[in-house]
Symmetry: C2
Subunit: 299 residues, 2 copies
Amino acid sequence: MNGPLKNLLVVDLTRVLVGPYCTMILSDLGARVIKIEAPETGDDSRKFGPFVKDYSAYFMSLNRGKESIALNLKNNDDKKIFEKILSKADILVENFKPGTLEKWGYGWNDVNKKYPKLIYASASGFGQTGPLKELPAYDMVVQGMGGLMSVTGQPDSEPTRVGTSIGDITAGLFTAIGINAALYDRQKTGKGMFIDVSMLDCQIAILENAIARYLSNNEIPKPLGSRHPSIAPFEAFRTKDSYIIIAAGNDKLFEKLCNVLDIPNVSNNKKFISNSLRSKNIDELKKILEEKLVNKKNI
Amino acid sequence: MNGPLKNLLVVDLTRVLVGPYCTMILSDLGARVIKIEAPETGDDSRKFGPFVKDYSAYFMSLNRGKESIALNLKNNDDKKIFEKILSKADILVENFKPGTLEKWGYGWNDVNKKYPKLIYASASGFGQTGPLKELPAYDMVVQGMGGLMSVTGQPDSEPTRVGTSIGDITAGLFTAIGINAALYDRQKTGKGMFIDVSMLDCQIAILENAIARYLSNNEIPKPLGSRHPSIAPFEAFRTKDSYIIIAAGNDKLFEKLCNVLDIPNVSNNKKFISNSLRSKNIDELKKILEEKLVNKKNI
């Protein structure tokens, strides 16, 4: 392995998506990753389709570059093997329900006493503390609870999930950031660090202007189809055969757009001369743009 | 500032979302961030609503914890001030169109010669190399080009954007991972590193099972509303008054669900005894579950 994390050993106790996505990134950055799975069943995601010759392509797409061993952490012989790996490891990553590893004797406090240099990262639905910590979670649960589904979809459509498991993936990315920052820190202090990532927190962290809108104007953000809530024009527009995305984020780009569409007067129209005015009058602007786009043969 | 990155100085040449999101994380981790903006206009996002007393809440939500200075990098006096800051910096982050900083004498090659320890991160639409490198991008552009919009929305609905700027945000997260890994590396080598993040690449990196499905079965993934493509039941279901998300990712959870809904026979039904069979027969299963959910008063 090459990359900035080469020569580092990751003990990977993760399953399904959030944890495996994080350890995949660590592997991509050069670390050696040993994934530890429960005997017989293995990672749940080995049962998720699609399958190629009875192997889950879903599982394979998230676990590239990792080594794998089956160990039962409740069995004494297996515990010995596990501890041998742990004693050589730099990083432990896990996404069990909070409390699970404590029960088996491998919570942060126990492990930190024995291996003070080990970085220990836990990704969970709702974090290691707080009233929801006991609850399990899936991507879809935090997409719903975090508010992302409330701003995704067509206006008045049925509930719409982001088409990829963004609740898991963003939490995996934040966990990877925490681990890398802890590696930097460890070189100065010689000490490991506990990283506690909650999937729900990460969903809040990616809501950007939805929160700003609510806090500043008491506006409850709604799904807007393809439309950006604060920038205009910034959405999909009909053309003769399909849709085109137009994203003109400032006055200069809007002027260029109007010139390309042969409607230079539109950019001078006082209803459209600033982003705030374009946002306010977007329905009228959209009509003008789509009429040109639907009828224009070559741009 | 406290946190693993304390005592580090970030020169922040970023605008709008992808770069500012990354430097916000660096600031949250304890780094000192000095944001350099163009005189008069400043960061484009200062013009994005909502506004609180004429200040953009959008801008404020992304630039917390940062210091700010206005410098014209084409002006000689301002260049001197910039270089003074640069000489003390650990990290430079920028999201100009590729080539812009080279033009002003601050490309990676020039800067690396003068400041070999400086970590230099560039986030752009399509990366610093390749046929699209000259093109600017916005979130919406890469959400469309990367395929995320093709799997988000209701079946046959108009194009649907993820309700938050996930194209920018994931690229900001990947950039933060790269910077932290480079900090760890620098402690071993004494050398800075160039980090080249393309927003489009990041969109591909988060597509997870959509790519696996296409590569293994030639199935072109489509929007599925709230339904997960590989796990069932895993979507929003109607109840008497609103919707509820049910995500039962394995046989045990499905059995528990059926027990809670007073339909224990359903989990034994041979049409539903595995995730693959539940996925195959999800329409029938959904009807059974919704009938219970719509009519049941208390669960």
